[in-house]
């Protein structure tokens, strides 16, 4: 059961403000989703199942070379000195 407090905590750690409407209807909706995925509990905690992960060999990795492009990556909120202007820290 997701309480309003649980929801507010999740919203805080996700840095998402919820509207009044969402604060109202989300607990129930999220509950249903969590109930839906609860079925995964039936699966055994079997450590012997190989997690079947994709692999890349050391030899295939990128060489340590510099390659810079001319494109300007940031153009929002830039100061004269080139810094990105961010929000206050406190």
């Amino acid at each position: 059961m997701i309480s309003k407090e649980d929801l507010e905590h999740l919203a805080q750690i996700s840095r998402i403000n919820l509207t009044e409407n969402e604060l109202e209807k989300f607990p129930k909706q999220l509950d249903k989703t969590i109930e839906y995925i609860d079925i995964l509990e039936e699966l055994a905690s079997d450590d012997s199942v190989n997690l079947d992960l994709q692999e890349l060999r050391f030899e295939e990795l990128r060489m340590d070379e510099i390659s810079m492009s001319d494109d300007k990556q940031l153009n929002k909120n830039i100061t004269e000195d080139g810094f990105l202007r961010g929000p206050k820290m406190k």
């Binding site: 079925i39 509990e41 492009s69 909120n77 820290m89």
Partner: protein, 481 residues
């Protein structure tokens, strides 16, 4: 002669090469078609008329000067708006990226450009790829060209609709849990989700990076082959990409072993099941064997998918804090914590729900309960399918368990909406290729057949689809619009 905007991609390339028409003429005809149809269908978020015309002129110049024009010369492509296009606004159908103009092209875009394709613009989707109808787009929903009151499918709804309506020759979509195949099925066009790693994801704005692939949506299998070959390939900019062999147009019939996945048929609407049966009969007519199989772990597939996709999404979408790029929201006097939360209030409801679920399942204490179990299910499912693929070349079933539905029918209940994906998530979880091929209509609403193959066996999918396409003649373009 066929109307220009009815031409299939390979016909456009042939026509141009033979001098039957110019690229500019072709593009103008497409733009006219868009003008006619867009007010009803609303496939596009951004249309780049100028860019398209200037690309066309460049191709015409190359033709005049007898230069190499590329394998996709003149073909107009609509790009799902979660794929980065340099200099063209890329929004992911979100308010959060309303003003975002990428400084680089996705690798697939570079591949298209290098082969003479003409980018028309960016197509509508559910916000960040999360949804099955485009109803979650923060700009407008797209309407199914076969019946404008019905959803086109999603999340690549704009791509499916645009191709069906003739607003572009072909389109690119992305598929995380069915997002290419669902709109392909609902819009009666052909769409393919490649094997995981076949197509570079560099430039694809991530929703769930271990599940998704970019893929083509076309009106014929032959077009699909052209598109797939151009966009496939190991890419230095994507560590998860894997080399693959090009697909060839089938030149003789092959006999393949097909199996119908029982659970997918019993879980569908009657009309849908009927179409699948007639498809399997057609397969037998052309000499394929057709049996029935069962997949043990199927009922865990959708819960696993939502666990993993939400978890990855909650992390992939964390970067959207409007500091480096985004939309118009001045920083003012806010401190960073408040600013971030205020900015991200502008995500749509579905995106918010998935991020919250994602944060939940990754929370300390829950990791073993949901995320790890979901990962294990992936391995189990993949193992099960690979075992089946030792015996059968192809596994088939309906792409969607239901017919296209009307706007608003499922939007109030997230679970109802999620269940729409139950047939398609399997291929994403297992990383295997899957195609949706139109096989029929019911009350004018399209039905699609899903065919799956073992990893990197796209050739078999193409072989089967090519044969089936010859014997099941399905209309690829609605007369009504």
């Amino acid at each position: 002669m066929t109307k220009l905007d009815d031409l299939l991609a390979y016909e456009v390339v042939e026509g141009l090469t033979e001098g039957q028409f110019t690229a500019e003429e072709y593009v103008i005809s497409i733009l006219k078609r868009i003008e006619e149809v867009e007010p009803k269908v609303h496939s596009f978020i951004t249309l780049d008329t100028e860019g398209a015309l200037s690309s066309a002129k460049i191709i015409d110049k190359k033709i005049r000067e007898k230069e190499d024009i590329g394998q996709l010369a003149g073909v107009t492509v609509g790009i799902k708006d979660n794929i980065s296009t340099q200099g063209i606004r890329t929004t992911c159908a979100s308010k959060i990226l309303e003003n975002y103009v990428p400084t680089y092209d996705a690798t697939v875009i570079r591949n298209l450009k290098e082969n003479g394709a003409i980018l028309l613009g960016k197509l509508n989707l559910d916000e960040f790829g999360m949804g099955s109808t485009t109803e979650y787009s923060r700009y407008h929903p797209t309407h199914n060209p076969w019946n404008l009151d019905y959803v086109p499918g999603g999340s690549s709804g704009g791509s499916g609709a645009a191709v069906a309506a003739g607003e572009c020759t072909v389109a690119l979509g992305s598929d995380t849990g069915g997002s290419i195949r669902c709109p392909s099925s609902f819009c009666s066009v052909v769409g393919l989700k490649p094997t995981y790693g076949r197509v570079s994801r560099s430039g694809l704005i991530s929703y769930a990076n271990s599940l998704e692939q970019i893929g083509p949506i076309c009106r014929s299998v032959k077009d699909l082959i052209m598109m797939l070959n151009i966009i496939s390939g190991k890419d230095a900019m994507d560590n998860t990409s894997i080399p693959s062999s090009p697909i060839t147009v089938p030149n003789k019939s092959k006999k393949l072993n097909v199996a119908v996945i029982k659970e997918l048929v019993t879980g569908s609407d009657q009309e849908v099941a009927k179409s699948v049966f007639s498809a399997s009969e057609k397969f037998q007519e052309i000499g394929f064997s057709c049996e029935e199989v069962s997949i043990k772990n199927l009922h865990y597939a959708l819960p696993s998918y939502y666990t993993l996709a939400s978890a990855e999404a909650s992390s992939n979408l964390a970067r959207y804090d409007n500091i480096r790029y985004g939309f118009d929201y001045p920083i003012g006097e806010y401190n960073w914590d408040t600013y971030f939360s205020n900015v991200r209030e502008n995500f749509g409801e579905e995106v918010k729900r998935r991020i919250l679920i994602g944060s939940y399942v990754l929370s300390s204490g829950y990791y073993g309960k949901y995320y790890l179990k979901a990962r294990r299910l992936r391995s189990l499912l993949r193992l099960e399918l690979l075992t089946l693929f030792k015996k059968y070349d192809l596994l088939i079933g309906p792409t969607m368990p239901i017919l296209p539905f009307k706007f608003g029918e499922k939007i109030d209940d997230p679970i109802k909406m999620y269940l729409v994906d139950v047939n398609t998530v399997i291929a994403n979880l297992a990383g295997i290729p899957a195609i949706s091929l139109p096989i029929g209509f019911s009350n004018g609403l399209p039905i699609g057949l899903q065919i799956m193959a073992a990893p990197f066996e796209e050739q078999k999918l193409i072989d089967a689809s090519y044969e089936l396409e010859k014997v099941i003649h399905i209309q690829r373009r609605p007369n009504s619009i």
